[in-house]
């Protein structure tokens, strides 16, 4: 893990590594899609609508995890000036943003047939929308402010403030009356979701996770090359 703090390591990863990572995540996602769209059973209440969950839930998990990682990276980079963390956070942002959009849109598609509405202002949906905006603000800070050090500072503050929203999203369904159902999978209890539906969900999560890793590594490499181009690479020790 510590090796990752050494910038050169990313350039030691061969093209072969990326090639195989791509093959692996694509095959896991295809396998997961077959499992979730064809093999897994219908739900006893929702029917086929349940299949939206296999995309919605992994995307939501990843968007929360990625923002948490960005928040932690921003704390480290802001306090200890370990700049490589800034680059981690910056590289992660568009990935998490995409997943949060997928989560909101698929959720909305699921909500129409299930609840009877595309959108409603309950605590879970509203806080999730807020997360989408935090991602947008974070990315905008980097695009609008040209000075690296200024945008590093402001984007880090945005990520740290946004970090407070993460537990709100997670626990909104327990703290308040919401239309959104509580979590089916909890660390302390056995899942309220049948094994034949849990398997495709976890396979999809693994596939999405590896996809996120793949894009992250590519973006991380690009960001470092950009710094080199701007003659800023000496800030990364």
């Amino acid at each position: 893990m510590l090796n990752l703090f050494q910038i050169k390591k990313i350039f030691e990863l061969s093209d072969n590594f990326f090639y195989w990572l791509k093959i692996i995540f694509l095959s896991i996602i295809i396998f997961g899609l077959i499992l979730s769209l064809v093999i897994s059973p219908k739900d006893y209440l929702q029917g086929d609508t349940v299949r939206i969950m296999y995309v919605h839930v992994p995307a939501s998990w990843l968007s929360l995890m990625i923002f948490s990682a960005m928040g932690v990276c921003s704390i480290v980079s802001l306090i200890f000036k370990i700049r490589v963390c800034t680059i981690y956070a910056k590289s992660l942002a568009p990935i998490g943003f995409t997943f949060s959009l997928i989560s909101v849109f698929t959720g909305s598609l699921w909500g129409q047939p299930t609840w009877g509405t595309f959108w409603t202002w309950d605590a879970r949906l509203t806080s999730m929308l807020l997360l989408v905006f935090f991602y947008i603000f974070y990315i905008l800070t980097w695009t609008l402010i040209k000075n690296f050090f200024a945008s590093e500072k402001y984007s880090s503050i945005i990520a740290i403030v946004g970090l407070a929203n993460i537990p709100i999203i997670k626990f909104s369904v327990e703290w308040w009356n919401t239309l959104h159902q509580p979590a089916s999978i909890k660390l302390t209890e056995s899942p309220a979701i049948h094994a034949s539906m849990l398997t495709p969900l976890l396979v999809m999560f693994l596939g999405f996770g590896l996809f996120a890793l793949f894009i992250f590594l590519i973006r991380y490499k690009t960001e470092i090359l950009k710094l080199k181009k701007d003659k800023l690479n000496n800030i990364l020790k």
Binding site: K42, L45, P113, W115, G116, D122, W176, N177, Q181
Partner: protein, 149 residues
Amino acid sequence: MSPASKKRLNYFLISIIVFLIVGKFVLNSLQGNTVYFFSPSDLSKLNEKPNGLVRIGGLVKSDSIQKKQKDNIYTFVITDLTNDVYVEYKGILPNLFQEGKGAVIEGVLKDKKFLIAEKILAKHDENYMPPEVADALKKSGTWNKTYGK
């Protein structure tokens, strides 16, 4: 750790503490405002009936859905097992709206026990299972009432 880092860390920790305290107060005061819906018991505790649109959430009481012959007028009872609210609704019921399951009803209160619904949202719970499993559970008698009818 360099002195500058230490200083920044201290600022950071202090602002976290301040933030947590403020957040606690904000959450406490929000508690009353962020209810997406009232339960029938919440409603019965209110002194006056709320005006305008309100949302009532709870279970649809078993054997309470009735359809009036003309138009698509349905009446049913929303319960939280201690208090009931009677609901009248004109329109098409969502697919997942069934007796024994959760629902959120948006509408105008005629009085504290009677709601004219404008919109019905079916609430889905966290249980997912294939129909065969549901049948098997019903047969073996281990069916949990909260799963629905």
